[in-house]
Point group: C2
C-alpha cells in the first residue's frame, strides 16, 4: 500500500497534515510529525488534543503531505487508526525530535501532557510525482 515514494516522503522530514472528524461531523486538520513502523503510519500527540478526541470518536483519518523539495509532489492517504498506545510514546517523540529538529530530546515534554501514539493503517493512497520542477525557486 505504501510504496517507496510514500515511504521516502515519510522518512524525510516532511510535515503531515492529519484530518479527523469532529463530533458534529465537520472535518478538522492540523500539521504533525509523522513516522513509519513497518507498514503502519505513526502519529504522536498529547492526550486530550482535538485529534485525539476525534479519533476516539471516529478512527477514520486522512493524511496529506507535500515534498519539501518539491511541493508539487504530494500524497493523500485515507486510513484508520487501528491502535492507540502510550507505550514508548515519550521515547518516540524524542525520536521524532531527532528527525525533525536534529536534537536528542523533544523540547516540550510536560508532566501535564501524556503522549500517545496513533497507529494508522493506510487503506487508500493517491500519489502525484514531482511536477512543475522547471518553475521552482532554487
Amino acid at each position: 500500500m505504501l510504496d517507496e515514494h510514500i515511504v521516502q516522503l515519510i522518512k524525510d522530514k516532511n510535515f503531515a497534515f492529519l484530518a479527523t472528524r469532529m463530533k458534529d461531523g465537520a472535518p478538522h486538520v492540523a500539521p504533525t510529525w509523522i513516522d513509519l513502523e513497518n507498514d503502519l503510519i505513526l502519529i504522536n500527540t498529547a492526550e486530550g488534543r482535538i485529534k485525539h478526541k476525534n479519533v476516539l470518536n471516529d478512527p477514520r483519518v486522512s493524511i496529506s503531505m507535500v515534498d519539501r523539495n518539491n511541493p508539487y509532489s504530494m500524497v493523500t492517504i485515507q486510513g484508520t487508526v487501528i491502535e492507540l498506545t502510550n507505550e514508548g510514546a515519550d521515547i518516540h517523540i524524542d525520536n521524532l525530535a531527532k528527525k525533525y529538529l536534529n536534537i536528542p530530546k523533544y523540547p516540550s515534554h510536560s508532566p501535564l501532557r501524556k503522549r500517545i501514539i496513533f497507529k494508522i493503517k493506510a487503506e487508500k493512497v493517491f500519489f502525484l510525482p514531482p511536477r512543475y520542477t522547471e518553475y521552482l525557486d532554487k
Copy 2:
C-alpha cells in the same frame, strides 16, 4: 477573524491543506493553493474533484497551513464554503500560478476541466506563532 498573521501566511506562497468530509463521513485532506479576497478565503479547484464533490455535499471545511520559513508556526481554520463560482475562475488560477510558480499562466489549463472557486468564511481560527526557531536548519 483573520488577523495579520493569518493574512501573511496566506499571502506568502505557503500551501494550504484543505480537509473536507466524504459522503460516508470520513475526512479527506489534500494540498492546494490558497488566496484571500477581503475576509474570505479562496480555493480554486476543478469541477468534479473529490474536494468539490465533498463540499457540494457538506460545505464545512478545515484548512491548515505552516509557514514555509518556520513550519512550527501554524494555523488551523474551521469554516464553511459560502459560495461556489466559475466566474473569473480561469483568471484566478492564472493569478495563483503567478503567486506560486512565478509564471503568468497556469500551466495545466484544460478544456476538460472547468475551474471553480470556493469562497470560505472562517469561523474558528487557531494560530501558533513561530517556535523552535533555534533548531531550524538555515
